[in-house]
C-alpha cells in the first residue's frame, strides 16, 4: 500500500475514530480533530504539482480482484490532481466553517463528521482511481454519503424527502454508468481507463459504442444535476449549509463534470457527445438561471444558480470536444473552451463556496433565509456583505474578479461554435451563443438579487427572529479566504494556467499533444474591443435594466408554475410505483401460510421437473448401491407409517410428536450408514424443533379442518406427492450419474495432513468450507434478529394502539 493509496482512504480511516473522539473529548468540538486531515492532504497533493506540470503522471497499483481485472490503481494526472486539490482545499475550509456553524451541544457532530469524511474519501477515490469499477464503487459512496448528509436533520420531512430524491436520482445514474462501464469492458476487455483510452479509435465503430456513451452520460448528468435531472439539487439544500457549500456546489456535483472530462478522449469525437454535452449544458444553464431569478430563499437561488453554472461548464466541455475534429489546425481555437471549463470550475468553487457560506452566516445570525424578510443588513454585517458582493459580482461576470475572465472565455468558446462546419453546427450553432448570452443576463439578475435584496433596502426587524449582528470571526475566515482567491485569481489568473489548467487540459485532450508538448495557456484581461466584450457590456446593461424593473417582471416569473412539472412527474412516479406494487403484492400475499407453501412447492416441482426432463438428466443405475438389510427395511416402514399417521392425526399435539418420531427415525438411518455427526445433529435438531413447536403451540389456532372442499384437498395431495416424487427422482439421478470424481477423496486424504483434524465433517465445516459456515451463521443471526424484531415490534404497536 503506497502513500497515495493511504491518502485516498485516510478520510475513511479517520471516520472510524470520530465517534471515539467525540465520546472522549466532549468539551472539544469534534471538528478540530477532522480539520488537520484535509489540510495535510492538501499539502500532500501539492507535492504532485511538479510531476503533473512536466506532463508526467504518478500511478500506483494494489491488486484487489486481479482475476476479474479489478485493481485499485491510483493515478494522479492533471485532471485528478486539480479535483483532489479542490476536494481537500475546499474540504478544509468547510470543516473550519462547520466548527463555528454547528453548535457542539445541540448537533449530532459525530454523525456529521463521519458522513463528511466518508464523502471526502469517496470523492478522492472517484477522481484518483484509474480502474473504472473501483471508481464506480467510490462514486456510489459519494451518493450514499450525500444522502446521509442531506438527511442529517432526519426528523424534518423535507430533509428526508430531499435525501431520498437525491439518492434515487443519482443512484439511478450511477447504475446506468455501471452499465456503460460494463459495455466498455465488453468492447475492450479491460476496466483500466488508461487502456480503454488507448483503444478509443478501435471501438469507435463498435455497435455498443453509442449505448456506452449514453450510459456514461446518464451517470454524469444525474450527478451534475443537468436538465432534466437537476430537480434533486434544490431539494438537497435541506442539508446544513457547510454541506451545501461542499457537496452541492464545489465538489460532488462536479463529479459528473469530472466524468465527462475524463471520458472526452474516449467518446469526444462522436457527434452525439458534442451535441448532448454542449446542448444539455446550455439548456441547463438557461433553465437554471431563469428559475434562480424567481426564488425567494437564499439557498434556493444558490441551488438553481449552481445548476445553471454546472450547465455552463458542461457546455464548455462539449464544445471543447470539437477541438478533436480540428487537429490539423495550428491554432486550435476550440481548446479555449476546455481552458474556460477548467478555469470556471475553479472559479465557481471559490465564488459559490463563499456565497454559500455567506448565506449560511445570514441564516445563522438572522434566523431566516427568505429574501422577502431580509434587507438592509449591510450595516449590521459589513464583512459578510463584502464577501457576498465580491462573490456575486464574480458570479455575474464583472471585472476585476475571476468570474469575469472565465465568463469572457465562455463567450469566446460559444462564439466559436458558429464557425464550426461539422454535425450541422453551421446552421444550428448560432443558438449556442444566443442562449448563453440570455442565460448570462439572468445570471446577472439573480446575482444582484442575492446581494442587494439581502444587504440593502429597508431593514425589517419585525420579520426577523433574532437581532442581526456580524458573525464571529471563526465563521468568517473560510469565506474570506475564498473571496481572497476570487480576487487573486482575478488579477493573476496565470498563477493557475501553467500549474493546474494546462496539465488538466493535457488529461482531457491528450491526442492533441505530441510527446513533450504542453498546452500554452495565457489568460488576459483585455482582448481589445472584441465581440465578447460587447456581449458582456450587453449583459450588464440589460441585466441592470431588468433588475431595476424586477418588481414589474415578477408577475411573469410567477407565471412559471410553482410546482415544476418535472417535480410532479417525479412524485407521481414514486407514488405510482408504491401503490402499484402494493396492489400486485396484495393479489398473492393473502396472509395464509398455506398459500405460500403451495406457491413455493408448486414452483419447486415445476422448475426441478422442467430441468430434470428438459436436460434429459434422469437416469437410474443400480451399479453402485449397497445391499438393503433388515434394519433399513424396518426403519423405512417406520418412517412411512409415522408420516401417514400424521395425516390422520386429530390433534396438533399428536402430529407434532409423530413428526418428531419420523425425524428420530431418519437420524437412525445416519447411524446405520455410519455418520455419527449427522445423526447427532439430526437428533438435537429434532428435539429443539419439537420444543419450538411446543412453545408456539400456545399461539396456534385449534387444528380445524376448515377447508374440506375436495378441490383443495386434491390440490394439496397433488403438490405433496409431486414434491416427494421429484425429490426422489433427483436423488436417484444424482446417485446414478457421476459426471466427475467425488470430492470426498480429497477430504479423506487431506483432513489430517492439511488441517490436523480427525473428524472430517467438522474440519470441512470450520476449515475447508469455513466460508460457508461463516455465512450460514450470519444468516442464522439475521434470521433470529428478524424474528425478534417482528414479534417485539408487533407487541409494541399493540401496546400503543
Amino acid at each position: 500500500m503506497s502513500l497515495l493509496h493511504l491518502a485516498i482512504v485516510a478520510p475513511l480511516i479517520l471516520s472510524i475514530f470520530i465517534p471515539i473522539f467525540n465520546r472522549i473529548f466532549r468539551r472539544i468540538h469534534t471538528g478540530w480533530f477532522v480539520l488537520p486531515l484535509p489540510i495535510l492532504l492538501f499539502v500532500y497533493f501539492l507535492t504532485f504539482l511538479p510531476e503533473t506540470m512536466s506532463g508526467k503522471l504518478v500511478s500506483k497499483m494494489i491488486n484487489w480482484i486481479p482475476s476479474l481485472g479489478i485493481n485499485f490503481t491510483a493515478k494522479v494526472d492533471g485532471l485528478g490532481l486539480l479535483f483532489s486539490l479542490l476536494i481537500t482545499g475546499i474540504g478544509a475550509l468547510v470543516v473550519l466553517y462547520s466548527i463555528y456553524y454547528l453548535a457542539k451541544n445541540k448537533e449530532m457532530l459525530n454523525n456529521f463528521y463521519v458522513y463528511l469524511l466518508l464523502f471526502m474519501g469517496a470523492m478522492l477515490g472517484v477522481v484518483l482511481s484509474d480502474n473504472l469499477i473501483v471508481m464506480y464503487a467510490f462514486w456510489e459512496l459519494t451518493s450514499f454519503s450525500s444522502f446521509l448528509l442531506i438527511g442529517y436533520w432526519y426528523e424534518r420531512d423535507k430533509s428526508r424527502y430531499g435525501a431520498q430524491k437525491s439518492m434515487l436520482i443519482t443512484v439511478f445514474g450511477g447504475l446506468a454508468m455501471l452499465g456503460g462501464i460494463i459495455l466498455l469492458y465488453i468492447m475492450t476487455g479491460t476496466f483500466s481507463f488508461t487502456e480503454i483510452m488507448s483503444q478509443a479509435n478501435e471501438i469507435f465503430n463498435h455497435t455498443l459504442f453509442v449505448p456506452a456513451l449514453l450510459c456514461i452520460l446518464l451517470g454524469a448528468f444525474t450527478k451534475s444535476a443537468q436538465f432534466p435531472f437537476y430537480i434533486w439539487l434544490p431539494d438537497a439544500m435541506e442539508a446544513p449549509t457547510p454541506v451545501s457549500a461542499y457537496l452541492h456546489s464545489a465538489t460532488m456535483v462536479k463529479a459528473g463534470i469530472y466524468l465527462v472530462a475524463r471520458f472526452t478522449p474516449v467518446f469526444g469525437e462522436h457527434f452525439l457527445w458534442l451535441w448532448l454535452v454542449a446542448g444539455v449544458g446550455v439548456l441547463t444553464m438557461i433553465w437554471g438561471s431563469v428559475f434562480a431569478v424567481k426564488q425567494t430563499d437564499l439557498k434556493a437561488i444558490l441551488a438553481f444558480s449552481t445548476v445553471s453554472q454546472l450547465g455552463l461548464i458542461m457546455s464548455l466541455l462539449g464544445v471543447g470536444a470539437a477541438a478533436l475534429h480540428y487537429e490539423f489546425l495550428d491554432e486550435n481555437i476550440y481548446t479555449v473552451a476546455v481552458t474556460a471549463a477548467i478555469f470556471h470550475l475553479i472559479n465557481h468553487a471559490t465564488f459559490k463556496g463563499s456565497l454559500f457560506m455567506a448565506a449560511g452566516i445570514v441564516d445563522h445570525e438572522t434566523g431566516t433565509r427568505d429574501i422577502r424578510k431580509l434587507g438592509g443588513l449591510m450595516h449590521f454585517m459589513p464583512i459578510t456583505f463584502t464577501i457576498s458582493i465580491i462573490g456575486a459580482f464574480s458570479m455575474a461576470g464583472l471585472p476585476p474578479f475571476n468570474g469575469f475572465l472565465s465568463k469572457e472565455m465562455f463567450f469566446t468558446a460559444m462564439v466559436h461554435v458558429t464557425e464550426m462546419d461539422i454535425f450541422n453546427l453551421e446552421t444550428l450553432g448560432i443558438l449556442f451563443p444566443v442562449l448563453a448570452w440570455i442565460a448570462s443576463i439572468f445570471t446577472f439578475i439573480y446575482s444582484m438579487i442575492l446581494v442587494f435584496q439581502t444587504f440593502t433596502g429597508k431593514y425589517k426587524p419585525e420579520k426577523l427572529d433574532k437581532k442581526p449582528h456580524e458573525a464571529p470571526m471563526g465563521l468568517l475566515i473560510s469565506p474570506i479566504i475564498l473571496v481572497s482567491l476570487v480576487i487573486i485569481f482575478g488579477f493573476f489568473p496565470n498563477l493557475l494556467s501553467d500549474s493546474l489548467i494546462s496539465p488538466a487540459m493535457a488529461s482531457i485532450l491528450p491526442s492533441l499533444l505530441g510527446a513533450g508538448e504542453e498546452f500554452k495557456v495565457h489568460i488576459s484581461f483585455w482582448h481589445g474591443p472584441t465581440i465578447e466584450l460587447f456581449m458582456t457590456l450587453g449583459v450588464i446593461i440589460l441585466g441592470l435594466v431588468l433588475y431595476k424593473t424586477h418588481a414589474r417582471w415578477k408577475k411573469i416569473y410567477k407565471g412559471i408554475p410553482e410546482k415544476l412539472a418535472l417535480n410532479r412527474f417525479y412524485d407521481f412516479l414514486l407514488e405510482g410505483l408504491q401503490s402499484a406494487s402494493y396492489k400486485v403484492t396484495n393479489t398473492y400475499m393473502n396472509g395464509s401460510i398455506r398459500s405460500y407453501l403451495v406457491y413455493i412447492f408448486a414452483f419447486l416441482i415445476v422448475i426441478l421437473a422442467a430441468t430434470l426432463f428438459g436436460k434429459n438428466a434422469f437416469t437410474v443405475s443400480t451399479s453402485n448401491v449397497s445391499s438393503i438389510g433388515v434394519y433399513e427395511v424396518a426403519l423405512a416402514i417406520l418412517v412411512v407409517l409415522g408420516s401417514i399417521c400424521i395425516l390422520f392425526a386429530k390433534s396438533r399435539m399428536t402430529s407434532i410428536i409423530l413428526l418428531g418420531a419420523v425425524g428420530y427415525t431418519v437420524s437412525l438411518f445416519y447411524v446405520l450408514f455410519r455418520a455419527p455427526d449427522l445423526a447427532l445433529t439430526q437428533l438435537v435438531i429434532e428435539t429443539i424443533s419439537v420444543a419450538l413447536f411446543l412453545v408456539c403451540f400456545y399461539h396456534l389456532p385449534k387444528l380445524r379442518k376448515f377447508e374440506t372442499r375436495m378441490r383443495f384437498k386434491l390440490m394439496n395431495a397433488l403438490i405433496s406427492v409431486g414434491v416427494g416424487a421429484i425429490v426422489t427422482l433427483i436423488a436417484l439421478s444424482a446417485h446414478s450419474s457421476k459426471l466427475f470424481d467425488s470430492i470426498s477423496r480429497y477430504y479423506v486424504e487431506n483432513t489430517y495432513t492439511e488441517a490436523a483434524g480427525k473428524n472430517m465433517v467438522n474440519v470441512i465445516l470450520v476449515d475447508f468450507r469455513g466460508f460457508d459456515t461463516l455465512f450460514e451463521i450470519t444468516v442464522l443471526a439475521i434470521a433470529s434478529l428478524g424474528i425478534f424484531g417482528m414479534i417485539k415490534l408487533r407487541l409494541n404497536r399493540r401496546n400503543e394502539g
Partner: protein, 141 residues
C-alpha cells in the same frame, strides 16, 4: 407458559441439566477429532436450556440465566469473523487456520487450533439464535 406442578420432571431436570450441559461442552471441544463440534454442541446447550424452559417458565429461566442471547449471537459472530480475519495479520488468506502442540501444566500435551476459536463462534451463534427465537416466541403472549 402454563403453571403445571410436575414434580418428577422438575427434580429430574435439576440433575440432568448439568449432565447435558457438560456433555455439550465435551461434544464441542471434541469436535476436531471425534463426532461433535460447535454446531452440535451449541444445539445441545440450547436443548438443555429449552428443557429448563419447558419445566419451569420463562421468568424463572431468565432469573437463572440472565443472558441477552442477541448479544451472545453478536459475540459469536465476532469470534468467527475475528478468527477468520486474524490470519490477515500474518499475511495469510482470510480463514487460514493455524495449529500447534502446546504443553500446559495439569492438562498435559494439547493440540491447540485456531479452528476451535472459530467453532466457539459457531457455538455461541447457535445457542444465541436458538434461544432468541424460542424466547421471543415464548414470551409473546
Amino acid at each position: 407458559m402454563r403453571n403445571t406442578n410436575n414434580i418428577i420432571l422438575e427434580t429430574a431436570v435439576k440433575v440432568l441439566l448439568f449432565f447435558i450441559a457438560l456433555y455439550s461442552v465435551y461434544i464441542f471441544t471434541a469436535g476436531h477429532y471425534y463426532p461433535g463440534g460447535g454446531f452440535i454442541g451449541g444445539l445441545m446447550t440450547a436443548g438443555a436450556i429449552v428443557l429448563l424452559l419447558i419445566t419451569y417458565d420463562i421468568k424463572t429461566v431468565v432469573g437463572i440465566l440472565p443472558v441477552n442471547f442477541r448479544i451472545l449471537t453478536a459475540i459469536g459472530l465476532l469470534f468467527a469473523i475475528g478468527t477468520s480475519a486474524g490470519s490477515l495479520i500474518f499475511d495469510a488468506p482470510f480463514l487460514t487456520h493455524a495449529f500447534g502442540d502446546v504443553h500446559l501444566p495439569i492438562l498435559g500435551d494439547l493440540s491447540l487450533h485456531t479452528a476451535t476459536l472459530f467453532d466457539l463462534g459457531v457455538y455461541f451463534v447457535v445457542v444465541g439464535v436458538t434461544m432468541t427465537i424460542i424466547q421471543t416466541i415464548g414470551e409473546d403472549e
